[in-house]
């Protein structure tokens, strides 16, 4: 089964261009409008945050965003509905859901996978389900052609890396620093070495995220990674400047990333 993620990363590679991955929170502000605007602003892949009450791997920006979204009534079903709405108009841009285990577990792995498949979702990043615990979820997602994207971090040594990349697909998300989302990113030289290590072990594209905020910084990472992820900064821009403000930031960041290897 061809997955939009595979196709998108193959295209990027063919043009020797790094991809830009934009994270946004479903339900925080007019998120449907932002979602629809992201491809036009230069997002190659969209990470759609599923709000959760207890986001223990997230920094203040995404925590606050999740609480605002929940306050506004967003649910997992609502998030999937926004993805489905987006997919009616955009058949190419991959959507990766990102969030925590409990809402998915509550819906049921199988039921969630089917609903996500129907909504045109291409991948899932579940922060608090490590490889040791993801058998059932991964199998359910696999039946729908959805990639379960794993995270590698600075604490992932070579032995552990083999476990992390086994049975994975889509791409690998390299967390550039030990810490929560939105904190400072890792030094670019170290990130570059880590990306090479993860690429060799996985044979998959590697996207780098956590703490990337500025176009210069994004461009530096784009020179050594297949894609750059920005989350907290976009979430903040959406909160302070609405859809236009967030789209503007995405334009600046994606231009920097796309031009980085020229």
């Amino acid at each position: 089964m061809t997955n939009r993620l595979t196709t998108r990363f193959a295209e990027l590679s063919a043009y020797d261009r790094a991809g830009f991955v934009a994270y946004m929170m479903a339900g925080d502000g007019d998120s449907q409008a932002l979602l629809d605007a992201l491809p036009g602003a230069g997002a190659d892949v969209i990470e759609l945050g599923m709000p959760f009450t207890d986001p223990m791997a997230d920094g203040p920006a995404i925590q606050a965003s999740a609480l605002r979204a929940l306050e506004a009534g967003m649910t997992l079903r609502g998030t999937l509905a926004q993805a489905a709405q987006f997919r009616k108009r955009d058949k190419e841009t991959p959507i990766v859901l990102m969030g925590y285990a409990n809402p998915i577990h509550h819906m049921g792995w199988e039921k969630f996978a089917k609903a996500a498949g129907k909504a045109g979702v291409d991948g899932l990043i579940c922060v608090d389900i490590p490889p040791e615990e993801d058998d059932e979820l991964r199998a359910a997602l696999g039946r729908q052609g959805i990639a379960l994207i794993r995270l590698a971090t600075p604490t992932t040594d070579d032995r552990r890396l083999a476990t992390v990349v086994a049975n994975t697909s889509g791409f690998v998300y390299y967390v550039s620093t030990t810490g929560v989302t939105g904190a400072g990113s890792g030094a670019v030289t170290e990130v570059g070495e880590a990306v090479d290590r993860v690429k060799r072990a996985s044979g998959l594209p590697v996207a780098v995220g956590f703490g990337v905020k500025e176009p210069d910084q994004a461009a530096a990472i784009a020179r050594c990674a297949d894609a750059v992820v920005v989350g907290s900064a976009i979430v903040d821009a959406m909160h302070s400047g609405g859809v236009a403000g967030a789209a503007e930031l995405v334009k600046r960041l994606s231009s920097a990333v796309h031009a980085a290897r020229r």
Binding site: H105, V127, T155, V180
Partner: protein, 410 residues
């Protein structure tokens, strides 16, 4: 880890869990961010090695005896027995431990383990402040910097414990994220740990979190049940008919229950906090009012809504105010080896006063919940019965709050 009378253990026994994956049946596990996985695997190895090292055991035993004041006695509560009009009520006096609760049994074990692992910084979460105080105490004793995360709401209602922690040299971080209670303090501790992976040891205060914490904390707390089992046998020549303990995350209950799990004739009864009443939705009774889910590293019963979002717990007792429960309790509940009941805020307040007046023992609001069900059970079992309840903490910390509830200005 003193001399004990151990229960029979056979393969596949209920007491033999968790399995290799840290599962108690379908509960438990290791649901953490990838950054933390290498750390909890390292911790598991270090704990296994320490557990079988006689030097570690000797050090634990020495500090348990000379510093914590172990063993704590079992005490026949004659006047409560009279008042309840039924079975004999015996109290395991873990409130007499240094720092005033059972929490130090576990903190001592984990801090000694942290030293052994070469960790130079301790973090902990706390609700009522008992675990925070116990951690800060042991950290002070060994000269290790300690940071305690505490919900901003709890910082307000537990002011004396906040000051105690500061006196002990700990940094107390009020957590305003989320709803500012114990679960948010735990989120914040996890965020700190994921940031300071090299030097920091996270001392979790209850039998929850990712494997190996539920098993490790239980092992350290099992001194409660091991001592009590031996003491009851020595005093009465028999085991109690029932062991009763309150449950927030469930560490004192698990510590009491575990050495009795294979004693099929001994009923194990956990008392959750019913807050304003389970039917009102304002409670902390995860087993009664929750469903299995995933939070803070383990699969267990959680208070959650139809979307799988975590619902805030409510209890008069900050120590029971947690929307989850240790995975081993979830397992014992489903296996029907232990019974789980609940007691309301009002019942706890009533027992707090009753126990103080009749026995001259001011119980913490947490074990006051257990006492409410001991009252019913005493009548049910009749005068031939023997009940052992863990008095897991003393109530000095709760005096200001109880006074306020009773409309008394201090």
């Amino acid at each position: 880890m003193s001399e004990t009378v151990s229960a029979n253990t056979r393969p596949n026994a209920l007491s033999a869990w968790p399995d290799m994956r840290g599962r108690f049946g379908e509960y438990g596990g290791r649901f953490v961010a990838e950054t933390l996985m290498p750390l909890i695997l390292e911790l598991e190895d270090a704990y296994k090695a320490a557990r079988s090292d006689p030097a570690f055991k000797a050090e634990m035993d020495l500090f348990l005896k000379d510093y914590v004041g172990k063993p704590s006695p079992v005490y026949f509560a004659e006047r409560l027995t009279e008042e309840f009009g039924g079975a004999q009520v015996w109290l395991k006096r873990d409130e007499l431990n240094h720092t005033g609760s059972h929490k130090i049994n576990n903190c001592l074990g984990q801090v000694l383990l942290a030293r052994r692992m070469g960790k130079t910084r301790i973090i902990a979460e706390t609700g009522a402040g008992q675990h925070g105080v116990a951690t800060a105490t042991v950290a002070a004793r060994f000269g290790i910097p300690c940071t305690v995360f505490m919900g901003a709401t709890d910082v307000e209602r537990q002011a004396p414990n906040v000051f105690r922690m500061k006196l002990l040299g700990a940094q107390v971080v009020p957590v305003t994220s989320g709803t500012g209670t114990l679960k948010d303090a735990m989120n914040e501790a996890l965020r700190d740990w994921v940031t300071n992976v090299k030097d920091t040891f996270y001392v979790i205060g209850t039998v929850a979190g990712p494997h190996p914490y539920p098993a490790m904390v239980r092992d350290f707390q099992s001194i409660i049940g091991r001592e009590a089992r031996a003491q009851m046998t020595e005093r009465l020549g028999r085991l109690p008919d029932a062991c009763v303990a309150c449950i927030g995350g469930g560490s004192n209950a698990m510590g009491l229950f575990h050495p009795f799990i294979e004693d099929e004739d001994v009923r194990l009864i956990g008392v959750e906090a019913a807050g304003l009443g389970v039917e009102t939705g304002k409670h902390a009774a995860s087993l009664k009012g929750g469903k299995p889910g995933i939070l803070h590293g383990n699969r267990t019963y959680l208070l959650q809504d139809d979307d799988g979002q975590i619902i805030d717990a409510h209890s008069i007792s900050a120590g029971l105010d947690y929307p989850g429960i240790g995975p081993e309790h979830a397992f014992l509940h489903d296996m029907k080896r232990a019974e789980y009941v609940s007691a309301t805020d009002d019942e706890a307040l009533e027992m707090f006063q009753l126990c103080t007046r009749l026995e001259g023992i001011i119980p913490a609001l947490e074990p006051a919940h257990a006492l409410a069900r001991v009252r019913d059970l005493a009548k049910e079992l009749g005068s031939d019965g023997i009940i052992l309840m863990n008095m897991c903490g003393r109530g000095d910390k709760d005096v200001p709050q109880v006074a306020a509830k009773l409309g008394v200005e201090l």
